[in-house]
Symmetry: C2
Subunit: 408 residues, 2 copies
């Protein structure tokens, strides 16, 4: 008997029929004697419908009230799934984020989980119930409803698994696992049977979109065994996210090609090269709750330096406004922005023990005449920023260059 | 400066435009310096949409889960109204029933309010906010979401007014007040400028549908000044519900003709005429959470008695099942049921000081050949149960006989 947390996304619960299918799948796990906690998203389209309704009232809806509104999407799904389970004779009980006390900070529309009270869930599980929890939402110290931002249901799933010390957290989605890259761009992309946590982290943060990055961070931090599965296929093992590199020796150096077209680039040129300048530039951006991804600082001429970073396209105007406002204070020569960029990354733990990955990547791109604007590296990935119009081409040639289309 | 609680029903908040209109009306009260607490229902059609969705999963949805689901209807409205207020520069904050701690019992889908925590609201009002509260919903001792049943938003409004000791509770609806009877049946029906609490109680409980009975009970108990107004007319005083009979001397004996077609009649024939028999019959019905309206017991022959009562048509099958199950235990000769009945009542405090109202009512019905099946009287009303096919006819002839179409 194991304790399993399952998370079903919006497409998986997109209609009464699909909700019934999810109930049947859960029943199978119950029949095997497992305890099951289920996290669900809003039915597909519902969150967008609610946001559109809010925008009919306010072009830029008040964040606190928007969270009150959009959190109803998951609330409807938990009730429907609990009903579907009862309908086939499975004891079940639904909980909103507030009811199961998913305590978060107060950053409306992008809150972070602080703690979860697992007591109620534990009691329900012990009395044979399936516990159905609304993903994506929580409650702050003052009792205000919060949401975790898009994709937050994954995070809820992993956080619950961590709080309950679950044996496995299964993320059901409309793909059957993690691929070497997006099959829509490279038809020969292959499903990976396993991927290390670190690779997954890079893949997710770089835009592979299978799992939300925060959920992978959580999983890593609390050593939650995470598996990505298809909610539409009966069988299939999906992709397991592992925390060891064992058995990886036979695998290729590179696991996948990730990419992201949702970022924009900002460059602050000619700021004085002195201690604290990075904080002076990024502090006000962070204070505005804007997440920064890549950060690059180059040595410049005459005691000045150039500083570049990327933010989500949605935050681009806001971030530009903040920096232009502070330009004279920063003594910067100029502030440049470009929101027509894309980021492409090669990811793989094998990189650690192999040289030449970077040079092969750069050569491959150069052969196609693709100019590299920014480079950033970590232990297991190399990311480049390029003109967004070359994105698909870059992904295809890199996938081929690193032989990802060949079964190992 | 007064503290006013306003309640807007589903039609009044049925679209973004109407929500904006409600916000404008509230702004007018704020401009006059009043503090305002607003209670809203779900947008019209939304509760039915949610119930229909639930029924796609369970023909008879689980009550706890149904409450989780339908309570989202008001949750969406409070957020939208708070946004609409902020959009026109009015400070506002929304609360679900759970957040403002409308504590109820645990009778899902028909819970009763136990207490309300007014602290948060008071603090918000003092800091110049309009407080927007979800009607119809609450939370039980264990943190489960509950709903008060159809029309429960009126009750929320009055209960909040009582908790806050508000100066007036205004119920905005799609009619502009309380009428002598339903204008759809009698076009000459007139709006009453005021009506006593007791009359209103009888009018509401007898199906006039302007206000939910529980809200009027609450108002009476806590002496809340209650006014029914149209949300579509800019001016208009509506109908004030008064708690004194002063100034009523000039008014007619009868204030209105109420009716109800939602009830069904059950008769238990030939039960032993002994102490405790009423409890033996109605105890199990009450235990099943079925509300009983009229109760009549006739003396029968040979130490036996006949016992009749009415329940809501929705509860008819369930109540019949309970009584047929207990028939032998009750030693009843037979249990009869009829769900094709209607109740018609004449209501008026003037009845107390005037004789002959009952005989005039019975004569008027007899002249039209309408048979009376049950009679029940109180201080200020006389109700009869008749075949439902005569309902409209009975209402029209009684309205005329008591000269209700004539302005006083």
């Amino acid at each position: 008997m194991a304790l399993i947390v399952q998370k079903y996304g919006g497409t998986s619960v997109g209609s009464p029929d699909r909700i019934r299918n999810v109930a049947k799948r859960i029943a199978k796990f119950r029949a095997q004697g497992h305890q099951v906690v289920v996290v669900v998203s809003a039915m597909s389209g519902e969150t967008n419908r609610l946001i559109a309704l809010a925008r009919e009232i306010q072009a830029s809806p008040d964040p606190r009230e928007l969270d009150v509104m959009v959190s109803t999407g998951e609330q409807v799904t938990i009730a429907l799934l609990a009903m579907a389970l009862k309908e086939i004779g499975i004891k079940a009980k639904s909980y909103t984020g507030s009811q199961v006390r998913v305590l978060t900070d107060s950053a409306f529309t992008k809150a972070r989980i602080v703690s979860i009270d697992e007591e109620k869930m534990r009691a329900d599980l012990d009395s044979g119930h399936v516990v159905v929890v609304a993903g994506f939402q929580g409650v702050d110290m003052d009792g205000n409803i919060t949401t975790l931002g898009r994709g937050g249901s994954d995070t809820t799933g992993v956080a619950l698994a961590a709080a309950l010390k679950a044996d496995e957290c299964q993320i059901y989605t409309d793909v059957d696992g993690v691929y070497t890259t997006d099959p829509r761009i490279v038809p020969k992309a292959r499903r990976l049977k396993s991927i290390t946590f670190e690779e997954m982290l890079e893949m997710a943060s770089l835009g592979s979109k299978v799992l939300q990055i925060r959920s992978v961070e959580f999983a890593g931090k609390y050593k939650v065994k995470l598996r990505v599965l298809s909610s539409f296929e009966e069988e299939g093992e999906g992709t397991l996210i592992t925390f060891e590199e064992e058995g990886k020796m036979e695998q290729p150096i590179i696991s996948g090609i990730a990419f992201n077209r949702d970022e924009a680039k900002i460059t602050v040129r000619g700021v004085p090269d002195k201690p604290g300048i990075a904080y002076q530039i990024l502090g006000p951006v962070a204070d505005a709750n804007i997440e920064v991804d890549m950060i690059i600082q180059n040595v410049g001429a005459e005691g000045a330096t150039d500083f570049s970073f990327t933010v989500h396209k949605n935050d681009f105007d806001k971030a530009m406004g903040i920096l232009r406002g502070g330009q004279s204070h920063l003594e910067a020569r100029e502030v440049l922005g470009d929101d027509r960029i894309a980021k492409v990354s090669v990811v793989g733990v094998g990189m650690r023990s192999h040289v030449g990955v970077a040079s092969q990547m750069f050569r491959t791109l150069a052969e196609e005449g693709i100019n590299i604007q920014m480079i950033s590296t970590s232990e297991i990935k190399i990311s480049v920023v390029i003109d967004e119009k070359y994105l698909e081409l870059a992904v295809r040639v890199l996938h081929k260059a690193f032989q990802l289309d060949q079964e190992v």
